[in-house]
Symmetry: C2
């Protein structure tokens, strides 16, 4: 059903989902249901090794459900993004309803699954969906594991600057002079951008695919750098991994090796910055030139996510350049609204997610694990303290963005091993209680 909440159009579409049942015990063995987020579901399933790791112990079937408008689950095929009319059904509520209908479909069509307890699992936006799914459809899932889910990164529930502060701390801790070098780089870029020769030098030094022509394009470059630092903080895993980009172990430390001296001259500093971002973009040595619009794998549906941040998923962020290493940047909902209207013909409703999902007032719900990595900037908007005995927070101090959802690895710090053990323990309790 393209529109679960209206009956005028009765259109339907094909939603993609992946099933792995080799460890499933028929006769109502549990189902771990990944609530897909903004990207290709095969990519998420390949980066959610935790589910594969625990399937055998839980005798569980794994289901990975793709989020509408991403991957191959396009309600209007290639036209899905063509206008605001067709994009109108890209909302979290519709996605949750898709999951509900899919679970009922699976339970009624797979022999032996009728009474299988289902657990929702997701990371990041998918973690929000997992938590919200348990809140709104508790009859369909006995519990939810919401990994690195910033359900409070809305309205004024948390300070808008917390996100960038965490990124900054990650860089501070990963090398002397590192955060300071990055903070100084913005004005260095500005000074060079003031002359044509400077623009040419920047374009050459950063190996840009298309040379910088004006300050708007410089802003895109800075935005790209900023996103790169954020992504590095999110992907700061203790071992080499390929999620947003192929990266070495502890990539922020690798990056910081190039950023030890913040007092260098502009050009020397920026040459170092380029070496640093090379760790992110060219770890595999394949890239010839940089397109600063493209900061992550294409498996991530950045276009759709942009639309979602222009409608429901309005997450205020700000930087002051003092307590953090970023360019000062106020949160301006009006400017954002204009931008969204130009881009998509829609305007954000910044308070809707709180109205819908309760903001901080969620204590009446149950059976949700909120896990967060202490190094993950998204933990700023996450639930990091227990709300009740069955709404529990797990903090992984050495963890980046949903590290706990990844496959076990010899390099895993103790905290994430313990987190996974605890998560498994809660899931077993939920399953046991459902019997």
């Amino acid at each position: 059903q393209v529109d679960h909440f209206g009956f005028d159009d009765n259109l339907t579409f094909q939603q993609r989902y992946l099933i792995a049942d080799q460890h499933w015990k028929k006769n109502n063995g549990p189902i771990l249901f990944y609530t897909g987020n903004e990207g290709d579901i095969t990519w998420f399933s390949n980066n959610t090794g935790f589910m594969w790791d625990v399937a055998q112990e839980l005798n569980a079937m794994l289901v990975f459900a793709e989020h509408r408008y991403y991957g191959e689950s396009l309600p209007f095929g290639n036209e899905s993004y063509s206008d605001s009319k067709r994009l109108n059904y890209l909302t979290s509520e519709q996605a949750l309803a898709d999951f509900a209908v899919l679970i009922e479909h699976l339970k009624s069509t797979i022999a032996g699954a009728r009474y299988s307890p289902v657990i929702a699992i997701g990371g990041s936006y998918g973690g929000m969906l997992a938590a919200w799914f348990r809140m709104k459809y508790p009859h369909l899932v006995v519990g939810a594991l919401a990994a690195s889910a910033p359900i409070w990164q809305f309205g004024d529930l948390v300070p808008c600057g917390a996100f960038f502060s965490i990124v900054t701390n990650d860089f501070k801790k990963s090398g002397t002079g590192c955060a300071e070098s990055i903070r100084n780089s913005w004005s260095a870029i500005d000074r060079l951008s003031s002359t044509d020769a400077g623009l040419q030098w920047l374009s050459r030094t950063f190996h840009l695919c298309s040379p910088l022509k004006n300050l708007q394009e410089v802003a895109v470059l800075k935005r790209g750098l900023s996103d790169t630092w954020i992504n590095l903080a999110m992907m700061n895993y203790p071992y080499a991994a390929d999620f947003l980009e192929p990266l070495p172990a502890w990539p922020v430390e690798e990056v910081c090796k190039f950023l030890k001296d913040p007092s260098l001259s502009d050009k020397l500093l920026l040459q170092n910055v380029f070496q640093a971002i090379n760790v992110y973009y060219n770890y595999s040595g394949q890239i010839q030139c940089y397109d600063m619009d493209e900061t992550a794998t294409k498996s991530l549906g950045q276009l759709g996510w942009n639309y979602q941040t222009c409608t429901e998923m309005v997450m205020p962020m700000c930087a002051d350049g003092v307590s953090d290493m970023f360019e000062p940047q106020k949160w301006d909902i009006n400017a954002r609204s204009e931008e969204c209207y130009k881009l998509w013909g829609v305007r954000p409703r910044p308070s809707w997610i709180i109205s819908m999902y309760g903001g901080k007032n969620i204590y009446s719900h149950s059976n949700i694990i909120f896990s967060n990595g202490g190094m993950d900037p998204w933990s700023a908007g996450g639930v990091t303290r227990n709300i009740s005995h069955s709404l529990v927070a797990i903090v992984i101090p050495e963890g980046a963005h949903h590290l706990d959802l990844r496959s076990h690895n010899p390099a895993d710090p103790k905290s994430v091993r313990q987190a996974r053990d605890l998560e498994l323990c809660y899931m077993k309790q939920w399953i046991k209680k459902a019997r």
Copy 2:
């Protein structure tokens, strides 16, 4: 917001609500919030005396929120019912979202209401909305009183014949030969309808505004009679009342006074039937002729409700003419779907309400009182047993359709007095716990 779940149209509309704050204690005294159902909100507020009766004791503000597409809360003004495009936003989900936004609006604009605990109260469909509102928006209401709310009259959650059985029992208990007379009336009508003279006789005898011309119109007459018996059972209050129509005390007994001998000849039997329905239609002596399409007050939005039963609110009903007094009538979803498509251009989704609101699997929710009248046919689909210590059922054996929501009355049976006391007691607990 006309469409809470989409961002393409950013249209808004004016929702009507009534506020009574003469008993409200500022500084966060509680708010009793009536979740309006399918009709004019002033009419509901006049028939929900219970809220007015308890306002003083609870120091509560009363809010009566009108349901979109009813009364004066028309999203597209007089065009609201003009086509399926405009009707597309007439759903329970949109109505609940209206209530959510309204509560947040009231709390942020009324001085001293910021932390007021809110309790949702509703009857019938409004009772379902009250219960569903607590399920879906527990951050906005501390509890819900769902009076005569048939939340299980969907899918195969309850036998489709239970509804008509209860109506029949009411008539059986209200007079010897009464239900039997009604059961015999259907074939009597059929026999008379087989000749033109018979049709004329029926039209005269039933004082029809427009004479019967064919069997289709006879079906409408029978449908009207059937609805009348149902409405009488619903309105079988212990004192004279004016809800759907002005009626005497215990109207079913009044009706049954005319229906003592089921063995009469067709014409004598049907003359008695006319006397009987006169109790319903002409208690006040104002009516000159009968329009069998019009079986209740115009304050009820029958058109909108018909649309809702053609989309989400698909409540299977059936009669067998043996265990009940109605014409045998199977539940035929396909025929219904065709009918709905012809009428509105939409097709029902019979399983959606269960997917959305959980069907019988609602034990993870809390703080909902389900009250039901033992004589009310809608109790067939109601929750009549406790589900948990905080999802409680109250049965009022002598009660008809949400009698407990009406003003106290000297003729009230003890059971409804006790029910109201218990309801008040639970509400006090919720309020106390919210502080």
